[in-house]
Symmetry: C2
Subunit: 231 residues, 2 copies
Amino acid sequence: MAIETLSSSVTTRSKNMTKRRATILREARNLIAGDGFDALKIRDLAARAGLTVPTIYNLIGGKDEILATIIKELVEQLQIIQDEVGSATVEESFAKQIHNLANHFATDEAFYRAAFIAGDRSGLFEQSSEEGIFARFVRQPIEACRQAVEQKLLRGNIPPEVLGPQIYGCYRSARQDWANGYFDLDGFRRQALTGIFLCLAADANPTFRERLMEQISMLESVSRRGDVTIP
Amino acid sequence: MAIETLSSSVTTRSKNMTKRRATILREARNLIAGDGFDALKIRDLAARAGLTVPTIYNLIGGKDEILATIIKELVEQLQIIQDEVGSATVEESFAKQIHNLANHFATDEAFYRAAFIAGDRSGLFEQSSEEGIFARFVRQPIEACRQAVEQKLLRGNIPPEVLGPQIYGCYRSARQDWANGYFDLDGFRRQALTGIFLCLAADANPTFRERLMEQISMLESVSRRGDVTIP
DNA sequence: TCAATAATTAAACAATGTTTAATTCTTAAC
DNA sequence: GTTAAGAATTAAACATTGTTTAATTATTGA
């Protein structure tokens, strides 16, 4: 398969453009991490990237396109993390996923905070795939609930199509509060998992319910030590 | 008590100013309801209100102050609705509250949608009272849970301080999805109450839990008819 | 080597939040 | 009633910032 089409053979020119594009995006992420997307000024970005404003427009586009590019990349990362769900118990699977997300956010917390705020505001999370990222991401908790019903962990009194979105809502709510600085990443982990486990517990059979209660208690006690390591 | 201080006796001047202030805010709400707060242009507002830009700055302030004034008013309305909680069962109390909120939003849905979006973005909801509106509003579900524990409806395995914020999160999450147009006010009612009832059910004793399950089922079936009337 | 073309740039444009200095109007003392 | 003081209002300008245009420069392929 030819990477190079008629007009994009790997020339000095295209290499420079690729490099500059990367520089622009890198500096954009830095600036956003500093003061949020609204504080990103095209002129500042041009200066930081060592080029001029129209070049940014040529290589990427205006503010909307810059954000869209960054959000698209973020969504792809989230998708990868979501696809890494192991084949453990339901609650371990959720815990692992929240854990992985938190670890990922920790690699550049300021940036991810700002990116989620900007993404939520722009509505880009909803538009970034044909059917909306929400629909795509909510499918997984729904499926997890369905499996849990099959495994007799959940009673099935609440349809998975009802429980799944609520679980997703708990995650998103916690993420938002973290992004807005109401608590740190440990708080995110605790808040998200507590919400998810509560939703599950509502429809859980007795033994599974007690297991979830224990998990929630552990989240609380662990969080007070400030040292959260979810297995 | 003298309403009129030294400098604000009820004169032609002060009456005009009060009237103009009200006009500005009314037109601001109209404009916001139309295209959101970001689309509110001071010049448009001045034209619609039949005065000039600096007068707006004199009587109210810039965009920040305009939004702050509107949000402050909104928060007061919410507080009034929240204070109207009756002395019914726990779940009826929550249902009543969500119902009242939805009815209130319905009086000017476009405006309230835009106002919540702008309020969430600005962080004004957190700043509008000394301790933050979140802390103030979350106190009520915590208290409700505490009472439910006393009434033996909840087992108390989940501390009210943990359950309360999750309940509040469900409400806020539903409100946000409604504000962003992902569903209508009936969807808001259903989503919010389903979440709240799920949280309660997680810690409910058997009979209360079944009662909540029934409520959730009813929410689902009612919503499919598109005709929601919560008692 | 050179003409065609693509990328880059300096400069201007447009929209919009905000402020300034002059003007008009209201008030209250005489 | 008149009038000076002061407050509200206004026209105009200012400042920032996203975006575009037309000219310049660099790269490419023949």
